[in-house]
Assembly symmetry: C2
Homo-oligomer: 79 residues x 2
């Protein structure tokens, strides 16, 4: 079973990486970009076969390691 | 219109970040994780209102800036 975790900075938290991408896109002539936010995605291959148990387990991984919940939010998709 | 770009290292390309996460999960007692790959996700807010045009435009952004297509693959979702 696979799980995809997406970790993004919370709204209101400055995102210098996203800003840098935004500036670079502008410099390359890509107009019409109003905002850029960059985050990370973590693909997990799990031995677990029960989707609910997998999601609970991955949630614990997020809380303990994958996301800094002070400034980041995460979402989990079981694939 | 929003677009989400996911950039992952291609299969076969070593992913030290993913390996580090894998080791850390093991160290925290999370068994049953068989593999971890880490990539990045970029959320774009676009002025474009036509989905097909937006996708084409974002594809160019990926080729020129967002992904290193020698070692990375990307996927685009229009939201």
């Amino acid at each position: 079973m696979k799980a995809r975790v997406t970790v993004m900075l919370k709204n209101g938290v400055l995102d210098p990486q996203g800003e840098a991408v935004h500036h670079a896109l502008d410099a390359l002539g890509f107009d019409g970009v109003n905002g850029v936010r960059q985050g990370k995605v973590i693909l997990l291959e799990l031995a677990e076969t029960d989707a609910a148990a997998a999601e609970k387990n991955v949630g614990e991984m997020c809380e303990k390691l994958l996301a800094n919940t002070v400034i980041e939010s995460y979402s989990i998709e079981i694939l």
